[in-house]
């Protein structure tokens, strides 16, 4: 039997995707790109690096990266902010969760270009003057992690969960924290941590 096929990776063509998407979800990006002459080549060949400025933890960071770079890879590989983790790269595990304009977002499914002009908060941006954020302290107090790999995403998600008003009961916390997988299964401790930190976070 002879069989000729491509490798196991899908034949999904990212050039075609970028071109096809120009008329739909990526309109704001291309619109922004078109506004600046320097970005014109990017619209023609997505493999050419583009200039992106990301606002991360209150500071502007200028980058010159492949247009397909995700916020996650921009943080990890280009800004050396490795607190946000890659667990699936498909938005299935939540390890990469950051806050973008105070909303929790899976940074692996967000292009860096699409996050320009928005306020990105990562795990590195929570503690101030060596004082831990109440959610960080609550995670320690309640031993809400083991290996720690999902923890940055859990904490970012937990802060948003509280601010969304989804931390009013244990059942609510369980439901609204279910986008973040913890393979060590520290779940009951995570619920306890969110409960502990919620009042302080709501106080502001």
């Amino acid at each position: 039997m002879s069989d000729s096929s491509s490798s196991k990776q899908s034949a999904f063509d990212r050039r075609a995707f970028m071109a096809g998407a120009a008329g739909s979800v990526l309109v704001p990006i291309t619109a922004r790109a078109a506004a600046e002459e320097a970005r014109a080549p990017a619209a023609q060949d997505p493999a050419l690096p583009v200039d992106v400025t990301l606002r991360v933890n209150g500071k502007d960071k200028r980058l010159h990266v492949d247009a397909r770079t995700t916020v996650l890879d921009a943080l990890r590989d280009h800004l050396k902010l490795t607190g946000s983790k890659k667990g699936c790269d498909h938005g299935q595990c939540g390890a990469c969760t950051v806050l973008i304009d105070d909303r929790r977002v899976v940074s692996c499914l967000t292009l860096a270009l699409a996050a320009e002009g928005q306020e990105i908060t990562t795990i590195e941006g929570l503690a101030t003057d060596d004082r831990l954020h109440p959610m960080q302290q609550a995670f320690i107090d309640n031993d809400a992690f083991q290996c720690g790999y999902c923890t940055p995403g859990q904490i970012m998600s937990a802060i948003a969960c509280v601010k969304e008003g989804h931390a009013k009961s244990e059942a609510d916390i369980r439901e609204y924290m279910s986008g973040n997988i913890c393979r060590c299964a520290a779940y009951p401790n995570i619920v306890a941590a969110v409960k502990q930190a919620a009042p302080e976070i709501m106080k502001g």
Binding site: M1, S2, D3, S4, S5, S6, S7, K8, Q9, S10, F12, R14, A47, V65, D66, T69, D73, R76, D77, T82, K85, K86, G87, C88, H90, Q92, C93, I123, E124, L132, Q136, Q137, F139, I140, D141, D143, F145, Q146, C147, G148, Y149, T151, P152, R174, E175, M177, S178, G179, N180, I181, C182, R183, C184, A185, A186, Y187, P188, N189, A192, Q196
Partner: protein, 763 residues
């Protein structure tokens, strides 16, 4: 104190917060792929789309044209690597299938090419543009597939030496008053640790540094050196934090030497972060198993005959097996026992350790069968265990070093409210929900391995402990720091611990729940060497009782010692008397009964674990009992598990906080193995179908409600100097049976194949 930090009972340490807590909640813990590299090239794997056959040709033109591509490495131009033997045959590898060596394909998802590029995005695009022509033949997927070969495990797996048996099973079963014969199945499962199977390799001259999540840095160091044909002294593996292991990172995978070889050729660091789906085929997994249990008993419940036959799937070249009969034939008193383990070969990647490798599938069978027998006998399943409890294992009569099985059952039953259970199936309900209570025993062998450590003490009490242990989430940093602080009598915050680096003194694989027992035993021993030096320097040895030498703090006077008149050691004086700035000691420890070559093996990345049933005059296991409540909706058949209660006795508990967390996670893993986890196999193509975290179901927060962990006080002086049995793999054993037993109680339906999904319920 929060629920996370239980009050220590007798023979338990303090529930101090994790040593690595702050770095882990601030994102500063550096996992392998977080390590900074200077100008790395990015690698992306291409994996096989067929499970059996050969590669006829590649068309790499499109891939090479992608801007930024540096090289596409296939078997035609890959760095030449030496083979490594399977770990169980004296090697380091978790598989002997070596990709990029020939055109042959041994399993689906085998690495067939590596694209290296200036950016991750370019490497990924080029990998997607690699075109492959194969000649494929029909693969064998699993049990019952055409083309499997079946043979007894004994004789093919060096670590499975014999099928335990005693007495005359056939006769006893034949004559038994009550008999049970039942078959069980467990599915393929993948560890899916959160951290991907990444590898970064950087050469400095002829020296290689590997950043990779590993549960055995020494094994990886020696294994990669062997494959590259270089001196192991030139290889260093660094991973101070590992994003979960669960067994998947215990033995070497082929990717590491491949990436190291490519980095050498490019003279540039290479970083590989494989995808989640690639992790299903480039590492190991828990193979599917089948079981037949035969139990014969007297009317009063006493077992007279037990037979356990198990079959496990492995790859074509490697006879991997877990052989859990070594445990199930020894758990209960029974004079006539027989067993057999077989290995079924298919066109699959080689399976490997996954959390409690033998016990999860094999105790599912035995503990389900015990429940079935209890139903036949019209007996409370807890009482059936009590009647068959034993102080000596039945195969060779060796005594258990300690065994708190029934104490665990009684504590857990009380906490759970087992007395409120009405024994008849389908007799408890709440509205649309049928309620079932079930229970099962758990046990896990106590294992230890040779280990070395270096401890340095400064005159201000600052202490540095070095040992190539592993922090995979277990709390290794924490319990090592606690051990040194207690032993030297210095404040915990003055202890710095360095682990996860093969330049440190060797420790065993972080597997088989041996780490705490092994590392804390050697750290205790080396701290005592320091104490001896200090005490000798400042006082004649006879002025101090032996007991005081062991217990007096350095630089402080514990109240109890002061009352007895023992003097504390003045650290400043001792250092002055010694005339040194620091005191540093190195030591090597091996457990009793360790083979003669233990230390040599330890220094060459080989594992020599002892314990469990393999001890000379005794047998050492940790025990527990688990109780679960399930609710089955009588209309939708939805299954929920609102309560899990486990009581565990595992010798000394170094830290009730980290121990509770591990056991809690274990209980949830156990629930998951009953209700959620299974890797689905496309039998036509011998391919894993649900190879991602959306389709491979792992528990999320909403799947888990009340989980109660009860730590029993237990002291065992026969196992190792610290009296630790290990808790990493105890709690996820037996839970699967407890849940099926509860489903039977709720619905009257006995389910013998995992996982149980709503479509399996026929109320």
């Amino acid at each position: 104190m929060t629920a996370a930090a239980p009050e220590p009972k007798t023979n338990m340490g303090q529930p101090v917060p994790r040593y690595d807590a702050v770095v882990k909640v601030t994102g500063r813990a550096t996992y392998a792929s977080d390590m900074p590299l200077v100008d790395p090239a990015y690698a992306f794997l291409v994996t096989s789309a067929i499970a059996k056959g050969r590669i006829d040709s590649f068309d790499l033109d499109d891939a090479r044209r992608v801007r930024g591509v540096i090289d596409v490495v296939t078997h035609e131009n890959a760095p030449k690597l030496k083979d490594s033997k399977l770990f169980s045959n004296g090697g380091y590898a978790g598989t002997t299938i070596q990709p990029l060596k020939t055109a042959e394909i041994a399993h689906d998802g085998q690495i067939i090419a590596v694209v290296v590029a200036e950016t991750y995005e370019a490497a990924r695009e080029a990998a997607n543009r690699v075109k492959v022509s194969y000649t494929a033949s029909a693969p064998t997927a699993t049990f019952d597939s055409p083309g499997t070969t079946v043979a007894a495990a004994t004789g093919q797996n060096a670590q499975f030496k014999e099928d335990p048996k005693v007495g005359d099973f056939a006769k006893a079963f034949d004559e038994a008053e009550v008999k049970l014969t039942a078959s069980y199945e467990t599915p393929t499962q993948h560890h899916n640790p959160m951290e991907l199977f990444s590898t970064s390799c950087a050469w400095m001259g002829d020296e290689l540094v590997i950043y990779e999540p590993s549960q055995f840095v020494y094994g990886l160091k020696y294994g990669v050196a062997e494959q590259l044909g270089i001196d192991a002294d030139k290889v260093r593996v660094v991973n101070p934090y590992v994003g979960g292991g669960f067994g998947s990172r215990g033995s070497m995978t082929p990717r590491t030497a491949i990436i190291a070889g490519i980095a050498k050729r490019l003279n540039r660091p290479v970083k590989l972060v494989p995808t989640r789906d690639q992790g299903f085929t480039i590492a190991t997994y828990r193979a599917e198993t089948r079981h037949e249990i035969k139990l014969g008993a007297r009317r009063d419940g006493k077992l007279v005959a037990l037979r356990h036959e198990g079959a496990e799937v492995s790859s074509r070249p490697d006879a991997y097996c877990v052989g859990g009969t070594k445990t199930t034939t020894r758990l209960y008193a029974c004079p006539n026992v027989d067993s057999l383990v077989s290995i079924v070969r298919a066109d699959r990647n080689t399976p490997g350790f996954m959390r409690s490798p033998p016990e999860v599938p094999y105790l599912f069978a035995l503990e389900s069968a015990m429940d079935e027998l209890a139903v036949k006998l019209n007996m409370d399943p807890v009482e059936l265990r009590r009647i068959n409890d034993t102080t000596n294992e039945p195969i060779s009569g060796k005594p258990y070093t300690s065994r708190s099985l029934m104490a665990c059952f009684d504590e857990a039953a009380k906490a759970f409210g087992w007395a409120q259970r009405s024994p008849q199936p389908k007799s408890m309900s709440d509205g649309d929900w049928l309620i079932g209570y079930g229970c099962a025993a758990t046990c896990y062998p106590t294992q230890m391995g040779p280990a070395a450590a270096r401890v340095r003490l400064q005159r201000d009490g600052r202490t540095r402990v070095e040992i190539a242990g592993h922090e995979i989430g277990t709390g290794a940093y924490t319990v090592i720091a606690q051990t040194a602080a207690e032993r030297l009598g210095v404040p915990l915050e003055k202890v710095a611990v360095f682990i996860g680096d093969s330049d440190l003194p060797p420790a065993p694989v972080a597997g088989g729940s041996n780490s705490t027992a092994s590392t804390c035993s050697v750290v205790t021993m080396v701290c005592d060497q320091i104490r001896q030096r200090l005490f000798k320097a400042v006082m004649p040895s006879q002025s101090l009782t032996d007991k005081a030498k062991e217990t007096v703090g350095i630089g402080q006077t514990p109240a109890t010692q002061a009352a007895k008149g023992d003097r504390p050691l003045d650290l400043e004086k001792a250092f002055d008397a010694l005339g040194v700035g620091v005191v540093e000691e190195y030591g090597e420890w091996k457990p009793e009964g360790a083979p003669l070559d233990s230390f040599r093996a330890m220094h060459s990345g080989q594992v020599r674990l002892v314990g469990g049933h393999a001890m000379k005059d005794q047998i050492a296991y940790a025990f527990g009992a688990e109780f679960v409540e399930v609710r089955v909706n009588r209309f939708t058949h939805e299954i929920r598990c609102p309560r899990l209660v486990g009581a565990f006795a595992a010798g000394r508990i170094m830290n009730p906080r980290t121990a509770r967390s591990q056991l809690m996670g274990g209980l949830i893993w156990g629930m998951s193995s009953a209700l959620l986890e299974a890797t689905e196999i496309d039998e036509r193509n011998a391919r894993y179908v649900n190879d991602n975290l959306a389709d491979y179901l792992v528990p999320v927060n909403a799947d888990v409600a009340d989980v109660e962990v009860i730590l029993l006080s237990e002291q065992d002086d026969h196992i190792n100097p610290v009296g630790v049995k290990g808790v990493g793999e105890l709690a996820n054993v037996g839970t699967n049976a407890a849940i099926c037993n509860a489903i039977h109680h709720a619905t009257g339906q006995r389910i013998r194949k995992l996982p149980v999904r709503l479509e399996n319920i026929e109320v």
